[in-house]
Symmetry: D2
Subunit: 139 residues, 4 copies
């Protein structure tokens, strides 16, 4: 990804994240990816608690993940999650996310979410303003 074109969030690796092979357990990267998406929404004033309790609230539900594990990471590593928006339609959005340790790419992921009405759980269009802000990071 090009600099300034993504949202970054730091992660530190703790004991809870590792397994007895000495590395971060493969499912736990999905937690890191979600923390980054959540923090991005918060940074845009759209915390999930807020989204879910608003009159016309919505929630994102993950419907597909493609993730490649390039390298292992280890206890006390300082990682960085980089996130941007890829394809998006009215009620689905793809987050393109990468995890780095310094210059080394650890993980590449593509996370597709459906946008659902918080009450009916039916597909719902994302607010255009929020989408505009997520796709114009450097403006």
């Amino acid at each position: 990804m090009e600099k300034n074109s993504y949202f970054t969030w730091p992660i530190r690796v703790y004991y809870e994240d590792t397994d007895c092979a000495g590395i971060v357990y493969y499912a736990n990267y999905l937690k890191y990816l979600e923390r980054a998406r959540t923090e991005w929404l918060r940074a845009l004033g759209a915390g999930q608690q807020k989204l879910m309790t608003e009159e016309d609230g919505f929630l994102f539900v993950v419907i597909e993940v493609n993730i490649k594990y390039h390298r292992s990471s280890f206890l006390e590593d300082d990682l960085e999650v980089r996130s941007k928006v890829g394809e998006h339609r009215k009620a689905t959005i793809v987050f393109e996310q990468e995890i780095y340790r310094g210059d080394e790419k650890i993980v590449t992921a593509r996370v597709k979410c459906a946008c659902l009405d918080v009450k009916t759980h039916k597909p719902k269009a994302m607010p255009e303003e929020l989408l505009a802000r997520m796709t114009n990071l450097d403006n």
Copy 2:
């Protein structure tokens, strides 16, 4: 604990449970303890989904845990959780739980729960019949 005086539930240790010190991560034993409590309630016909959706439903909320870690356990260990009821009052109950690997005691725990009304979240007396069945395992 004496034989036949407790409810037993088997646990197998997977990668997800271990950490990079090569052993089961200390918080994960609390998951094992809860699986055993949940299965015990199910065995008595009182699954948590059922308890929570009944007209006069209640739920257990853990309010205190005392846990001693005697030995480590490892990937693919076959463990056994042994559970019985200790002190109990109208709206609180103590589960005395131990985790074994064969004859070796791994963990001793005392888990105190409050019994709450599922709607009001106020303290509520446990059904006497359920309590009677939990305290008379071998009858």
Copy 3:
């Protein structure tokens, strides 16, 4: 998948697996998938502890996951993981895995693993006999 052509493993959903949206948290299905792979290897006499400590030991490292979430699952659901081997080369193998609740498909996943030498961590061919047994489930 056709019947008898895959390895099945049951999973029960506990509190630890769910999140505050009331459903199983998306990362936790990767735990279920791994439990099933681990149990399949055990059923074939190739437990991971054993594989890792043998003279010519190897370990599987996940290098890619593609997972689709079709439906949500909930507390106390009884799920079934169905696993079979897809593409395989000398030192990589794809597990095709699905998770069902009764007749409803919850998750479809494709998990690509590298087979590494336990000492050198370099790619290593899987034992042919093990592969043969995994690809001929109904023989």
Copy 4:
């Protein structure tokens, strides 16, 4: 605890931490407590990777936890873990830890650790200098 007499570490609650009762799952507070202990050691220049790989390395192993849950916490709560050293002997140390949300106390915990030699796994005295720095926070 009195101000300036403890080490503080912030925690944000994510989806991964909550369960379907809508609150932080009881085992996950033990993760928060450990992150705080780890960060405290790091702040003192004694990161766990470093401790474990030094010539005369040691590691802390939790041998007992007493934890009281006073209140629930929720998605996106901002929590603070406060940690100080309680009783300590040559090779054991008690961490007294509390978790707050603003002025509300969520959790009180007492975590007893053994200090082990990283090679032999036998009890080992903590370095006096490290202990002195942990017990004199405001100097």
